[in-house]
Symmetry: C2
Subunit: 321 residues, 2 copies
DNA sequence: GGCCTGGTTTGACTTTTGTCGAAGGCCGTG
DNA sequence: CACGGCCTTCGACAAAAGTCAAACCAGGCC
């Protein structure tokens, strides 16, 4: 597609201003337009990712706590969002951090798997725009048509839009009513192709869900709160990409899981960089399960959660020795 | 190494300002410092690459001319710096563009080979700072101790400094007086290791030198202008990483080349991304030679040079058909 | 202890940038 | 061809950011 003249101007203005360091009025006279227009073009350039302003997230990895956690849980990298005193909203803080970390982890040519949830959508919503060309964002699990604005396909699309990337979503329900139908659907070429493509991803972004009545699975009607309670008593510890896992991070053997259309945990584990983001303190056990299952290599959490994880890790190794 | 408190503050200020979008006075009151300090911290943050402002160089690849050149010369990507009307200084323009392109091509964990020359040093000098952690910059060829400020080791070091990367330079002379000594020196473990490490680079940055009396090789006394003229009559077409190549981009069979300590062209060609930058219009033949020898995959040139290259390519294919 | 020295920090000032309503074009439509 | 909607551009004003000399502080040295 040819670049529209307006876009040319935005590029030129951004180039002169940011690369050459001219002032806005100098840019304006170079391009024979008013300074106010330059200001507008520059705003657009920032909004569309033509210019990219990113801040290093080192501060949050360089923490002692973060280092200890990396060692204790043998993760590749951990970022810890502060939660002390005057941080207005810790969960937003975590999302902002996660968005930055995510953008730092994305490389050109990457294929990115994205799951679904409030956290992921919040990150997508906060994330600044970038101009990665040949990036593909794929949806990791089927849809939950629901009164929610953060459906799986929405998460995928929004992130793709922000990155200027190609979005690949598939429109299968997350969960079907019979195992038979799920099996048949998984065998469908379109679906099978999508699911097998997950293993070729370079980067994954997801959170972990809790197994309680507040879970989206319950809210969206995929499970009743009674069923959820039952699964819980049978060892359910968390939800990853729509699937229920036990405390070891293995897929729980249950009818629900067999009725789900989603990427297999094995293909998730095949993704080199798996970024997990957890906002809520209440998701301690689910997170432990996900970590136990080797479902994350990179982790973004709040300070309180980080402390709990470290305490827990310390306690278990102590017991072991 | 522990982060100094001052650096912590820079990080925090940058984070609040750029990631959260607070105003400077809001940042100031959050951190209990004056707004002026915040402004200073932010400048430092930009200068040290803690925040990264980069503008897409798409504008310069999306050119029709650039596309045609990519096809005609079968290069991976070509960037063309405009040279029309009110561009004050085309060669600076090319360097600025090259610096941006270079930064766009660098990925984390890369090993980067850097050659030497006025162009490369100018790029290094203009290039903005970045905070790549595990990047290594290696020197591609021996040193020319000389009254020049852009010696090979300087280029390497400066680029490493800007990227916050590790610089690996080796202190051997570029050219020795006897072939024997050169052979012996190349066999030295330190040198051999460095030279063999070149093949493992992911990215190379160099320009091409002309074979005339203005060449650095002559200016630095490695060759007399008489010798240079003689080599020229024997088919010398350009200089790459200190070595003289013929019109086909092959190493010229001559005593000088045998006395040089530098990366072999074969190991240069083994580098996946080879960014060549040419500023001077006079380097047309040397550039042709380098391209013929497959020594570049990515090219940054001025508009006039681009046009000449395209005309030339058109002429040769016409003749061939 | 007094006294430099180098680097921060500050308040006051200047310059630059963001924004807004109004005016000006451009294009498709009636 | 006039009209209205939509987007761009403009000038002027308000807000924000950059800058600088002076004050300040800590640490090393006499």
């Amino acid at each position: 597609m040819a670049i529209r003249p307006a876009e040319q101007l935005i590029h030129k203005a951004a180039w002169l201003y940011y690369a050459h360091g001219l002032r806005q009025d100098q840019v304006a006279s170079q391009l024979n337009i008013s300074r106010a227009s330059v200001a507008m073009y520059l705003r657009k350039a920032r909004e569309t990712g033509i210019v990219n302003i990113s801040t290093s997230t080192q501060l949050f990895t360089d923490d002692v706590l973060a280092r200890k956690l990396e060692d204790a849980l043998s993760l590749d990298a951990v970022w810890i969002a502060p939660e002390n005193d005057h941080i207005a909203d810790p969960s937003t803080e975590i999302a902002v951090l996660a968005a930055s970390v995510f953008l730092e982890l994305v490389k050109k040519g990457d294929r990115i798997g994205v799951a679904w949830g409030r956290t992921v959508y919040m990150i997508a919503d906060i994330m600044s725009y970038a101009d990665l060309q040949d990036v593909t964002v794929v949806q990791l699990c089927g849809n939950l048509g629901a009164p929610y604005s953060y459906r799986p396909d929405q998460c995928t699309m929004e992130i793709a839009r922000r990155l200027n990337a190609k979005g690949l979503n598939f429109y299968a329900p997350l969960v079907l009513s019979t195992e038979e139908l799920a099996r048949a659907l998984r065998a469908e070429p379109v679906i099978r192709e999508q699911l097998s493509g997950v293993g070729e991803c370079d980067l994954a972004l997801y959170s972990v869900g809790a197994v309680d009545a507040d879970s989206h699975l319950v809210k969206c009607g995929a499970l009743t709160s009674g069923e959820m309670a039952e699964l819980r008593s049978r060892g359910a510890a968390g939800v990853i990409a729509g699937q229920i896992i036990d405390a070891d991070g293995k897929v729980l053997d249950c009818s629900y899981n067999r009725r789900v259309i989603s990427a297999e945990l094995a293909s998730l584990r095949a993704i080199a960089r798996r970024l997990m983001v957890v906002q809520e303190d209440s998701k301690f056990e689910p997170l432990l399960a996900a970590i136990a299952g080797g479902l994350c290599t990179h982790l973004v959490v709040g300070a309180r959660m980080a402390q709990r994880l470290l305490d827990h890790a310390g306690a278990t190794t102590e017991k072991a020795s």
